[in-house]
């Protein structure tokens, strides 16, 4: 919320939203059981909070290898994470300015301290690794298998209807491109009627939202009817998981890596 200023209305991002999540492929990570990937990603993301530069560098190298193996281009990574980098710079500067210690750079009465910069760099590296983990995961995993894995992980949790969550994920993924198209259409239709000249911001906001809501809710209603006609039931066939046979190694490697992170 705090960083809203850094991106305007970018229809291009919205167009790519579905396409840039998953890249087809047959690499090591693509073939790995999705549950194993989620487990490793979760465990590493948690233990990285304790990690220092040495283990961060080690993890960075491992991730880089996997990225190359999965055939993800570095350009794509920079493109997807560009706003996140701005966030990181902000965190770095804020840390460097506010931590007490030996001043390194001074202009006027503001000083960046050595200690502050080290702390800042460490925090940024941690965030970056977590982001990269998430990105590698989402780029190498089909949305439908993510959905299946979520269902599998939630199934032992009482009071959470895991099958409904899984259906909601499907619907969520289905509504995203649809909403993006609708918003564009409505905003173009209004622009062609000179909506830009409307000075009242409340009216401006409401005029975009109301038709969007009307249209999408009607379509959601029709979707519900169509699902009913296709025998919708929450008692459905369970998802299928395909293992590549390397899962045990990955589980062990993940455990080892998180122990290294926490201890060193």
């Amino acid at each position: 919320m705090c960083f809203k200023t850094w991106h305007g209305y970018k229809p291009d991002i919205m167009d790519q939203l579905t396409s840039f999540t998953y890249q087809t492929g047959k690499s090591f990570l693509h073939m790995l059981d999705v549950r194993c990937k989620i487990f490793s990603m979760g465990l590493l993301s948690l233990s990285i909070i304790k990690a220092d530069f040495a283990s961060l560098a080690l993890t960075g190298v491992i991730i880089a290898t996997l990225v190359i193996n999965a055939g993800i281009k570095s350009v794509v990574i920079f493109r997807d994470l560009k706003y996140f980098f701005i966030l990181l710079i902000f965190v770095f500067v804020a840390r460097a300015l506010t931590t007490d210690g030996t001043p390194l750079i001074i202009f006027f009465n503001i000083s960046m301290t050595k200690q502050g910069m080290i702390i800042g760099a460490r925090i940024c590296a941690r965030f970056l690794i977590i982001m990269l983990l998430g990105m590698v995961f989402i780029k190498t995993t089909k949305p439908s298998s993510v959905k299946g894995a979520v269902q599998w992980f939630l199934s032992p949790v009482p009071f959470i209807p895991e099958k409904r969550v899984s259906i909601m994920i499907s619907l969520f993924l289905r509504f995203m491109p649809f909403l993006i198209k609708q918003t564009k259409q409505i905003s173009n239709a209004q622009k062609s009627r000179c909506s830009d000249l409307q000075p009242n911001p409340i009216k401006k906001t409401a005029r975009l939202c109301v038709p969007l809501f009307k249209k999408t809710f009607q379509s959601a209603d029709r979707l519900a009817t169509a699902m009913e006609a296709r025998c919708y039931s929450e008692d459905r066939t369970d998802p299928e998981f395909i293992k590549s046979g390397h899962e045990t190694i990955i589980y062990l490697a993940t455990l080892a890596l998180s122990i290294i992170m926490i201890l060193f």
């Binding site: 949305p143 439908s144 289905r174 649809f178 379509s219 009817t225 009913e228 006609a229 296709r230 025998c231």
Partner: protein, 254 residues
Amino acid sequence: MKHKIIEIINLSHIYDKKTGSGIKDINLSIFKGEFIIFAGRNGSGKSTLFCHLNGLLSPGSGEILVENKNIKKNLTRTRRTIGMVFQDADTQIVGETVFDDTAFGPENLKFSREKINEKVLSSLDKLGLLPLKDRNPSTLSGGEKRKLAIAGILAMNPEVIVFDEPFSNLDYPGTLELIECIKDLHRSGHTILIATHDIEKIVSCATRLIIMDNGTIAADDKPVNLLKQLETFGIREPCASKLGMDINRISWTS
């Protein structure tokens, strides 16, 4: 004697008492292997009737029997017997890939994974969508989306397939392909029901034409016998019929 698959007895459903919109006193028997066109202007009750067939609306009075059993008794069985393809193909797609979407129905029926894969692949193959099976449905063309909707229904192996305005929003090649596809389905033994106000595209394949007007059945006969009355009910008479050509040559593909 042909096998009677659907029987509608005195079916009425009124939306609004003042205007009397809805359907009134429909009596109809549908036999296995028929190809029926329901024609009528907008608001003549075609869609309302179709929603009843699938148990999506409850009858105000009267009843619908499928295989001699009231549809209310087992809605899932009804929906498996009668597959419904809606007017707006966009709104009936659920899955994130073509394959997943087609699997939605069989998954609801709790088929085993192997059976689902087999059913999905065979129905995608039938409609020529197999090369697209990993695509995101929102990137498909209008005609492909319509076919995907049919594939999703076909994977549940229905005996009757109901189409509500299948040709709306389709371009010319898309329409031709869809007509071929519907003909194929009919040939392979499915009973076909189509609601449309534009009968020219498909009329030569039909075995029966039902004209609906104001919520009632106004006429029910072989298409040849009704062509000349069409325009009194607000349906355009096929061009070729106006020119006095042969019925078998009047549709878009013959």
